[in-house]
Symmetry: C2
Subunit: 239 residues, 2 copies
């Protein structure tokens, strides 16, 4: 049976402007692969209402599960929660359950739960909260979309809160053989091997290192025995 | 006048599986920002024909210019060129101009231009070639889509070949003030300042560092004088 599919939506001008390099996508990709969920698509959009709503609707309809990162803080450019409510036709306001979590957190820290911080309790009406053990302000699940923070430490904590609730498939196993030859010499025999193992996925990822060309030949699949067999043949071919 | 818009399409299973961390997106984002082209959206899809064609069509229609990376090598999983031909209803075959470039390159290296390498001369009928000073095999421009290699050194070289041919806008300038306070204390006054300068874009990018919370307050715009004025006020507010 095919594994469940997922998409990620990264929300943030700072990545599109080149100011910041995204870390959350790479992290989520690894976590999903480990539990047998196939990350099929990633989109990165700016802090723009129309762009966010369009992407959420498209990804939510196309994949089993969607994960978003960014835009749920207290500042004026944090518009993700409102966009999610709009995407699914839900109302949004400060919710008592989210407010209580923030109140307890800031009381303990002796910090005022001011108007800005209260924005982080704005949650769409029918969403379920995602626990945030790092900085309290919750993420939320609306339909099949998991809405999480952009700060990497908080994002990771929310992924840890969410992953056990998801049903994965058979973990995707992968093995890599690094070959220091041009891809043009690799392509023929590697393509033949790929044809002989249609249930395995084989990809060639070329690189240039110290002026030499090579490629990482990656074989992926869910059947460990078949994977080992194919890797054995691959090693023979390029010995 | 609004700057030209661009999108990027990254093609490659290796990024979605978490095996590789994309470097080309971050590089392109910086280069485009510097020449006044707004990178509005990025999509990452797997080596899947339908996914690639759908993304190319959507992005090509929505933005002035599109850049792709990955999938133009000689191995069986390199299907980008064929997908581009399909996306724009063009035929594709080994083209004499591309073949001549490869022939000259491999003759010089004393390497056989075998069947696999010849796949890299498969170019859609009406596309213009993009120069590849690193490893010869050309990229190409089809309609408003610039099709480039995934290997970072080759991608960079192709970006350098292409950028001078694009019309940019006024470069987007940006200044950053790092404030070691919680975003909840920053949000009120920062939001007020953003309202006072509607032609500037202001974003808050929170972080957690050594157990302390802070945020990078980024102000972006094309008017250097206005930008300095706003940064002066920002510094006063958070002095």
């Amino acid at each position: 049976m095919a594994n469940p599919t997922a998409a990620m939506l990264v929300i943030g001008d700072e990545i599109l402007s080149g100011r910041t390099r995204d870390a959350n996508m790479h992290y989520l990709a690894g976590e999903l692969t480990a539990v047998g969920i196939t990350l099929s698509e990633v989109r990165i959009v700016s802090d723009d209402r129309d762009a966010i709503v369009a992407a959420v609707k498209a990804l939510s309809a196309a994949y089993d599960t969607v994960f978003t990162s960014g835009g749920i803080g207290p500042t004026h450019d944090d518009i993700t929660a409102d966009c999610m409510a709009e995407s699914f036709g839900q109302s949004i306001d400060v919710r008592a359950d989210a407010r209580a979590i923030l109140q307890a957190h800031y009381d303990k820290a002796g910090t005022d739960l001011n108007e800005a911080r209260l924005r982080m309790a704005r949650i769409p009406a029918d969403a379920a909260l995602i626990d945030n053990p790092v900085s309290a302000a919750p993420g939320f699940i609306i339909e099949n979309v998991h809405v999480m923070a952009g700060v990497p430490s908080v994002f990771k904590a929310m992924v840890a809160s969410v992953l056990p609730t998801l049903t994965g498939g058979a973990p995707m196993l992968s093995e890599t053989l690094t070959v220091y030859r041009g891809e043009g010499d690799i392509a023929g025999p590697f393509g033949e091997l790929a044809k002989a193992y249609p249930s395995l996925s084989m990809g060639s990822y070329p690189f240039q290192r110290d002026g030499k060309y090579g490629a990482n030949l990656v074989v992926r699949g869910q059947d460990a025995v078949l994977l080992e067999e194919a890797m054995g043949k691959l090693s023979e071919i390029f010995a």
